[in-house]
């Protein structure tokens, strides 16, 4: 039996904590820098970057940058737009992709293997290569909305949502998860009289908590944080713009770094809240599936 040397044990513990602190610092310091800088005038902010003062609330501290940021851009509207587009896209994406994965996994039809391969192959196509064809397409598509019939989807919420619903990565996540579910559950439900739709709604989706959480987290972060190029080219009206496009308001002739930091701090809050909420659900769902039923 191995004998634990107390001194050695303490050293190992200290090393472990040192590594953990270092890693935590790498992730936390940029956030700290952002929040601290948002409280400082631009001149002081730039001077502080050469010292540790950049991470400390020292000097001329105020909320002035926040007032200025709100005066410069309709931040509330941008956050609202981003949340609306994110929630809309993620909800529809989870529904559509899970249905597609259900079909790929459980239904028997000719060519599904090929179609799944083609779907997954779209993962390697960068968005920039399809941006222009997609723009031409959505600019000519008809739409019937509250304001009536019109041609072209530009300057709307749906133009920011619909092209992003179908997503090969989410389909792949669901396919992998569904394959691991016992096939007998589906067969038992089928023999008991359930239609395919009932199998999907009553059996498969209630058992898919973990993959729904994973899909929702990945897709939400992508939609909220990274949607820049597409809204920039399809939305000219300020009222439909998301947060990332809104960032452009602060990069005029003279960059107001303090306001940029205030803006970034503000738009980070919803992400952190969302992530902390879902992360708990995520861990719980993984823990629950770990117990073999």
């Amino acid at each position: 039996m191995a004998v634990i040397d107390p001194a050695n044990h303490g050293l190992r513990l200290a090393t472990r904590y040192a590594v953990l602190v270092l890693v935590a610092a790498i992730f936390v310091l940029p956030l700290l820098f952002m929040v601290m800088s948002s409280l400082k005038p631009t001149d002081q902010l730039l001077n502080d970057t050469s010292s540790l003062r950049a991470f400390l609330p020292v000097g001329d501290i105020s909320l002035q940058n926040y007032y200025d940021a709100f005066a410069r851009a309709p931040i509330g509207l941008f956050v609202f737009n981003s949340i609306l587009v994110t929630v809309g896209t993620v909800s529809l994406s989870l529904l559509l992709c899970s249905l597609a994965a259900f079909s790929f996994t459980f239904l028997k039809w000719r060519g599904k293997g090929l179609l799944l391969s083609v779907t997954l192959a779209t993962l390697i196509i960068p968005f920039e290569t399809i941006a222009i064809p997609l723009l031409l397409l959505v600019s000519k598509l008809p739409w019937i909305g509250l304001e009536g019939f019109r041609i072209g989807w530009l300057n709307s919420y749906h133009v920011q949502i619909i092209p992003w619903i179908a997503d090969a990565l989410t389909i792949f996540l669901f396919v992998q998860y569904f394959k691991d579910l016992p096939e007998e559950l589906v067969e038992a439900a089928r023999v008991a009289g359930a239609s395919w739709w009932q199998v999907y709604v009553r059996i498969i989706m209630p058992l898919s908590g973990p993959v729904i959480a994973t899909g929702a987290i990945l897709k939400s972060l992508k939609m909220y944080n990274e949607q820049y190029l597409w809204p920039l080219i399809v939305v000219q009206q300020e009222s439909y713009r998301p947060i990332m496009v809104g960032l452009g308001y602060f990069f005029q002739l003279q960059v107001a770094w303090g306001e940029v930091m205030a803006y970034l701090s503000l738009i980070t809050v919803p992400v952190l809240v969302f992530y902390l909420m879902l992360q708990r659900a995520f861990i719980a769902s993984i823990a629950s599936t770990g117990v073999k039923g």
């Binding site: 559950l185 439900a189 023999v191």
Partner: protein, 368 residues
Amino acid sequence: MAEVRLTGLRKSFGDVEVIKGVDIDIQDGEFVVFVGPSGCGKSTLLRMIAGLEDITSGTLEIDGQVVNEVQPKDRGIAMVFQTYAIFPHMTVRENVGFGLTIAGVPKADKDAKVIEAARILQMEHLLDRRPSQLSGGQRQRVAIGRAIVRDPTVFLFDEPLSNLDAALRMDMRMEIGKLHNQLGATMVYVTHDQVEAMTLADKIVVLEDGQVRQIGTPMELYHHPANLFVAGFIGSPSMNFLDVDVGETHNDTATVSNPSLDPIEVKPTDPVTPGVKAKLGIRPQYLTPSSDPTKGKLHGTIELTERLGTETIVEVKLGDGTKVIAALSEDAIFDIGTEVSLTFDPDKAHLFGVPQAGSAAIQTESGG
């Protein structure tokens, strides 16, 4: 309740044919067991009856209707799976009532049926539990309960007891037997366990390599196996086979012998001609130690003894190196290395020709 008729049923997965033309008649209310070694196609055959596998060719009739293209839910069947397949996110009550919920049965009727099923399976106290709070045997009851409430015309069981421990398996086996007597429903049961087959079945279907080897009552299969495969598969311990030379043949008898066996006259199961090689099958239970070591039919040395309490199993190595198993009475005591002489009644021995794969299935008269 219904009759089930399989006619020329075939199933291929790509180029591989796994069911090679199966004909079986299952009578109304009969308990039929499909038995065979792993990979013989018994589960596939059951899944074809359930509608979970397509039928490549042949016809499947339930209650006189051809159901080849009918959806599982419309075949009037219920199935119990080896892995129970109960839904982990539902309570026992919801699991048992699932089929009725799907069918839109009014809540009062559904509740009554669920409670009735729970009463039959003695699990009323479990109705509000989740599957994760149940033992293996309780989960299997839930799966059976889910089948019962639908009043199916045919019950299908796919190795339902394989995941249970030995003691529980025996209890559940007896309960399934009682359930059949109680409900009087047609039941088709797949197992590789011949004890389950022998104890539960009105009629056993022995399958090998996608073909029926014999159909008959358990005792017919035990006493009159139609071929070498069935003879070796049914019975525990397995039947002993001796390579013998066929000597003279008369009307319905043949004289056989080998270096360890003095010539004896037996009734051949397969037709044999003088001078050919054949297999002589003797069940371990029909071998008895001779009081006079020189007068038995087989002579050898004891190599192994197993005392099971109710009987003693001994392995005897014969002079030509062949090993035979004998199931002796519990008080038979032999030391390893002892020379023994074993005797048997030739009328209870079976003589088979050289085994031929793909020999025609023989259906004996069903007494069930």
